[in-house]
C-alpha cells in the first residue's frame, strides 16, 4: 500500500540499464571501480557452542579502503552470520533475513532455529541464480543444539563442524583442519580461531587489521571487538619534519589586489545593555 518510503521492485533483477552500459563502454566511459573486500571468516563448534571470527579489512585494489569493518551480522539473538564476497549483498541480504526472522519469531512465539535461517537464505539466493554474491556462514545455538552452515551464492549449503571462507579461507582452514577436535573447551576453541585468523591475516594481502571474535552459547554472547589487532601501524623510523629554508626561495612576486568598497555599514556594539539582575 502507498505511504511507505521503502518499495520493493516486483521480483528479481531489472536489466534495463545493460544496454546503456554497453553503449557507455563503447564510447570509452570506464566502469566504476569495484571494491573487492577480500576476507577471512571462520567458525568453529566447541563443547558449549560456537566461536566465530572475522578479519576487518576492506580493500580497493591494493589500498586498504577501511580497516575496521565488522563482517559479523546479527540475524537474531541466537543466530549470527559472517559474510564474504560482495559486501553490499552480504549486508543487505543479512539485514533482510534479520527482519524476516524477527517476524517469524513474533508469529511463532518461539526462538528461531538455525536451520530456518539457512533454509530461508538458501531459497532466496537460489531465486537470484547466483547473481547475489553472498558467501555466508550462518552460525547459531537453538533448541536442537549449536550449528554452523556455509551458504554459497547459488544456494548450496553444508552443515559442518567447522568452516572458513573468503580469500583467506583456505589458509585458515589448513590451521583448523590440523588442530580441530570434537568437544574442545572454550579457551581451546578461541585460541584455534585466533590462530586460524592470524595465519590468514598475515599471509593474505586482502585480510588483516583486526581479528574480531564472538563466542555464542545457549546462555551468553561474548563479543571481542577486537580480539587481537594484527595490522598495527609501526612508528615512523625517522623524523620527517623539514627545517625552514629546506625549499629554496628562487624569486618573490608581490601583487596588489585592486578592490572597490561597495557598501559601508557601521554598527555600534556599546549600547543599551540590560541592567544586571541583582536578586
Amino acid at each position: 500500500m502507498s505511504g511507505l518510503a521503502f518499495e520493493q521492485p516486483t521480483g528479481g533483477f531489472v536489466f534495463d540499464n545493460c544496454r546503456r552500459n554497453e553503449l557507455l563502454l563503447s564510447n570509452g566511459v570506464l566502469p566504476g571501480k569495484i571494491h573487492k573486500t577480500g576476507t577471512t571468516i571462520a567458525a568453529i563448534t566447541y563443547k558449549d557452542g560456537v566461536v566465530i571470527a572475522a578479519d576487518s579489512r576492506c580493500t580497493s585494489g591494493t589500498i586498504i579502503f577501511d580497516d575496521n569493518v565488522l563482517k559479523i551480522h546479527r540475524l537474531s539473538d541466537n543466530i549470527y552470520a559472517l559474510g564474504a564476497g560482495t559486501a553490499a549483498d552480504c549486508d543487505f541480504q543479512t539485514r533482510l533475513l534479520e527482519s524476516q526472522l524477527e517476524l517469524l519469531k513474533l508469529n511463532q512465539d518461539r526462538q528461531v532455529r538455525v536451520a530456518t535461517a539457512v533454509r530461508k537464505i538458501q531459497q532466496h539466493l537460489f531465486r537470484y541464480q547466483g547473481h547475489l554474491g553472498a558467501y555466508l556462514i550462518i552460525v547459531g545455538v537453538d533448541v536442537t543444539g549449536s550449528h554452523i552452515a556455509t551458504v554459497h551464492p547459488h544456494g548450496s549449503i553444508a552443515f559442518l563442524p567447522f568452516v572458513a571462507s573468503g580469500s583467506g579461507g583456505y589458509t585458515s582452514l589448513s590451521v583448523i583442519e590440523d588442530r580441530f577436535k570434537e568437544n574442545m573447551t572454550e579457551e581451546e576453541a578461541k585460541q584455534l580461531a585466533r590462530d586460524a585468523l592470524y595465519a590468514s591475516t598475515t599471509t593474505d594481502l586482502y585480510s588483516g587489521s583486526r581479528i574480531n571474535m564472538y563466542v555464542l552459547t545457549k546462555e551468553k554472547l561474548d563479543k571481542f571487538l577486537p580480539y587481537e589487532v594484527v595490522g598495527v601501524r609501526s612508528d615512523k623510523q625517522n623524523d620527517y619534519t623539514l627545517a625552514k629554508g629546506t625549499t629554496q626561495v628562487l624569486s618573490t612576486n608581490v601583487k596588489k589586489i585592486e578592490f572597490d568598497i561597495v557598501n559601508e555599514k557601521v554598527k555600534t556594539t556599546t549600547g543599551t545593555h540590560e541592567a544586571m539582575e541583582l536578586a
Partner: protein
C-alpha cells in the same frame, strides 16, 4: 433515520456520519474491557481474557501481543480483526527497521497502523476493523513511554490512561480519579487491575486476565505467575 444510510461504508449519512464506523465502534464497545495506563517510567496494558467454556485450553492464545522489541498492543472488539492488525503492525515495524536501522518510535508506528485502519474505511468491498487498539511503546530518542488508542475510523489519540470495551465510561471515570503523573510502573499495574475489577464478573485469576508492560528494557507480557503475585497484593 440515519439507518437508511447505514448499508454502505462509502456513503455519508445526511448528518455527516459514516454509519458503518459508528457500528464498528458499537462492536468495540461490546467487547471485553481493556485498560492502558502510562506511568512515569513505562506503560501497562491489561485486558480481561475470559474463556467461553471450561473446556477451553487458552494458554497459547494471547490478547496482549508484542509488535517489536519496544512496542505492544491490546484490543477490544473482534478477535480475528485484531489478529490481522497485529500481523500488519509487525510487518510495518520491520519495514521501518530495514529503512532506518532503528526500532520504530511509537508515534510513527501508531500513524502507520491508523493509516491501515483508515484505508478500510475508504475502499470498496471492505468493512472497517471491528477493533479499537491500545498501543504502548517506549521512545528511545525522547526517552519516555507512550500510550495511544487507535479507533476503527483511523483516528488515534494519545492517552495518559484510558479504558476501552465494555463499561469503558466507568473505567475512565475510575482512572480519572486514580491517575497521577508521578505514578510508577508497579503502581500503574495495580491501578490497571483495579480498573478491570470494576467491570469484572466473578473471581479474577491469573488465567482470565492478561497484562503487558513496556519500559526502557522493552515490551513483555507478564507470565501467569507474575500476574498471580500482583493479584495477591491486591487481595
Amino acid at each position: 433515520m440515519s439507518e437508511r444510510y447505514g448499508f454502505s461504508l462509502t456513503t455519508f449519512s445526511p448528518s455527516g456520519k459514516l454509519v458503518q464506523i459508528e457500528y464498528a465502534l458499537n462492536a468495540v464497545n461490546a467487547g471485553s474491557p481493556a485498560v492502558g495506563i502510562k506511568a512515569s517510567n513505562g506503560v501497562v496494558l491489561a485486558t480481561e481474557k475470559k474463556s467461553k467454556s471450561l473446556l477451553h485450553d487458552d494458554r497459547t492464545i494471547h490478547k496482549v501481543e508484542s509488535v517489536c522489541k519496544n512496542m505492544g498492543l491490546v484490543y477490544s472488539g473482534m478477535g480475528p480483526d485484531y489478529r490481522l492488525l497485529v500481523q500488519k503492525a509487525r510487518k510495518l515495524a520491520q519495514e521501518y527497521m530495514l529503512v532506518y536501522e532503528e526500532n520504530v518510535p511509537p508515534t510513527q508506528l501508531v500513524k502507520r497502523i491508523a493509516d491501515v485502519m483508515q484505508e478500510y474505511t475508504q475502499s470498496g468491498g471492505v468493512r472497517p476493523f471491528g477493533v479499537s487498539l491500545l498501543i504502548c511503546g517506549y521512545d528511545y530518542d525522547e526517552d519516555r513511554p507512550f500510550l495511544y488508542q487507535c479507533d476503527p475510523s483511523g483516528s488515534y489519540f494519545p492517552w495518559k490512561a484510558t479504558a476501552i470495551g465494555r463499561n469503558f465510561v466507568n473505567g475512565k471515570t475510575f482512572l480519572e480519579k486514580r491517575y497521577s503523573d508521578q505514578l510508577a510502573l508497579e503502581d500503574a499495574v495495580h491501578t490497571a487491575i483495579l480498573t478491570l475489577k470494576e467491570s469484572f464478573e466473578g473471581q479474577m485469576t491469573e488465567d482470565n486476565i492478561e497484562i503487558g508492560i513496556c519500559d526502557k528494557e522493552g515490551f513483555r507480557r507478564l507470565t501467569p505467575a507474575e500476574v498471580k503475585d500482583y493479584l495477591a497484593q491486591i487481595g
